[in-house]
């Protein structure tokens, strides 16, 4: 198979082809390198490419398979990950100048699990500085450019992850999500992004932003990819006492394609406020697809939304400001303008307001589940209310007046971080400028199997996730 044909495989297709002996790991790594050579200059998704290490790992994988060894569910598949997953002895920049030379003393639990599943770690991806912007701007490593149109944002903070998967450099990449940082680049780049339930995936060896709201998850081509990826990385870790002890189900087994009898809620206040027409059209079309699969939908107006969106604005800002305070005193000029500006605001929020927001989190989760998920299988929203903006019109470093547009991008994603609910963004069309539109689906805690079943059924009926910006 040619590199371009191989690059069209999804993660599960590539892993299964490797397991059956139909493709070598070396061919998969070479396809990645070929594709990077063709298109990376237009995207700027990489921070570090470990070319030789990846080829060596591929050689070892091919040798092991030839010897009859089973390599795991991700065997032979090359991946690149957001540059905030620590690997002992290797630089992890976190997209920053401050940590340009930071060499962590530990390896992230999720990287160890991906290694054990047979995935080949080929390097690290560009990202928003310290995972703190929704656009993909980066003053130190250069902005990541949307593969569909380089003048537009990729979404952040997992900007390189979204762009690298969309551009078919890799089939899957780790992102992180504190306010939408997996789902926004997934939506803006036209790929599938899963934010698991808070506590579902351990965070040991992952750069923190907000201990209450940080999540680890994949960006990949399909819901099936996300299901297999999550099966590998989910589950309690003794080194992360916050990780849940809930059993990890077989997420792929849940992908039956059958949604008959399901009920889903469209939450009217907040999530549709100020929605742009091309987004509304795609969202309505997505709902019709689900209705065609036997889903009944209903508009609802949960009273809990005001508290949720207000407290959402408090928690991660305070936590992010707190852990950055030494650097904000000692070297504020080493941050990009937009980042130090964002962190700074966190110091203005009183401790009592923060603790109120934390204390109300459990009661508001219960209230939202009672209002929006009792009798409903899922909640549907557009991932963004607006079309994908340009990098220029969201550039705070160039013009502080862009602040409101910049902050509004994550309006529909942040509430689910506060609530801790599992949420996925799937491609659901294109706007009038040819940029992707995302459909966001959320469900009850630890309901990833249900969530991915819905996303997979949607993808069986649509081909938005198969569109390639560089065919």
């Amino acid at each position: 198979m040619s590199p371009d044909v191989l690059s069209e495989l999804s993660m599960t297709e590539a892993a299964d082809a490797f397991a059956r002996g139909e493709v070598t790991a070396r061919a998969l790594v070479e396809a990645m390198l070929h594709r990077l050579g063709q298109h990376e200059a237009k995207v700027n998704s990489l921070i570090r490419l470990d070319r030789e290490d990846a080829l060596l790992a591929a050689h070892a994988a091919d040798k092991a398979r030839a010897a009859g060894q089973k390599l795991g569910p991700l065997g032979g598949v090359p991946m690149l990950h957001k540059d905030m997953y620590y690997r002992e002895g290797k630089v992890s920049t976190c997209g920053s100048k401050i940590r340009r030379d930071f060499v962590p003393p530990v390896t992230a639990t999720v990287l160890k699990r991906l290694d054990a599943a047979g995935a080949i770690d080929a390097g690290t991806l560009n990202m928003a500085e310290f995972a703190q912007n929704p656009t993909g701007h980066n003053a130190h490593f250069g902005d990541v450019m949307n593969p569909w149109n380089g003048a537009h944002c990729t979404g952040g903070s997992s900007s390189g992850s979204g762009a690298a998967v969309a551009a078919r450099f890799v089939t899957a990449a780790l992102g992180s999500d504190t306010g939408g940082s997996i789902r926004l680049p997934a939506a803006m780049c036209g790929v599938t992004g899963l934010k698991p339930t808070q506590t579902r995936v351990p965070r040991t060896g992952v750069m923190p932003l907000s201990f209450s709201a940080d999540n680890v998850g994949p960006l990949c081509r399909t819901a099936r990819d996300a299901a297999r990826f999550l099966s590998v990385i989910a589950g309690a870790c003794p080194n992360d006492p916050t990780s849940a002890r809930e059993a990890v189900p077989d997420y792929e087994a849940a992908l039956t394609g059958d949604l008959r009898g399901m009920r889903m809620a469209v939450v009217e206040p907040w999530f549709l406020d100020g929605i742009e027409e091309p987004v509304a059209l795609a969202f309505e079309a997505a709902i019709r697809v689900l209705q065609g699969l036997g889903v009944r939908t209903e508009m609802i107006s949960p009273a809990s939304m005001h508290g949720i969106v207000t407290y959402t604005a408090v928690v991660s800002r305070v936590e992010g400001a707190t852990i950055h305070q030494n650097w904000m005193r000692e070297c504020p000029g080493d941050y990009a303008t937009h980042l130090s500006a964002r962190i700074y605001g966190g110091y203005a929020i009183p401790g009592t307001a923060y603790l109120e927001a934390v204390s109300r989190r459990g009661p508001l989760l219960r209230a939202f589940c009672a209002e929006a998920l009792e009798g409903f299988d899922a909640v549907l929203t557009p991932t963004l209310r607006t079309r994908v903006p340009t990098r220029a019109e969201t550039d705070i470093d160039a013009d502080p007046e862009n602040w409101a547009r910049f902050m509004a991008l994550s309006a529909n994603t942040r509430p689910f971080n506060y609530l801790g609910l599992p949420t996925v963004s799937v491609p659901a069309g294109f706007d009038d400028r040819g940029l992707p539109v995302g459909l966001q689906i959320a469900t009850r805690p630890f309901g990833e199997a249900r969530l991915l079943r819905i996303a997979d059924a949607f993808q069986r009926e649509t081909d938005w996730h198969k569109r390639n910006p560089f065919p």
Binding site: Q325, M328, P332, R361
Partner: protein, 69 residues
């Protein structure tokens, strides 16, 4: 647009409590957002009851979990 009155005293308070100076014009601009945040928090007053023990988010996650998957 005129700068809201809260901006200067907020900058002073941050300097005093945290020792962090305003890093740039965008940071100062961003503080103006807090008028709206404070107004939103005002609307929620009364919902935070006296608590005998902290409400548990992790307990709520478990109690609300999906039972069918």
């Amino acid at each position: 647009m005129a700068e809201p009155k809260l901006v200067l005293p907020t900058m002073d308070a941050i300097q005093r409590w945290q020792g962090v100076a305003v890093p740039n014009a965008a940071a100062r601009h961003g503080l103006a957002d807090f008028e709206a945040l404070i107004a939103d928090l005002e609307k929620l007053r009364g919902e935070m009851a006296f608590e005998e023990e902290p409400a548990g988010f992790e307990a709520a996650l478990r109690d609300c979990r999906d039972k069918g998957s």
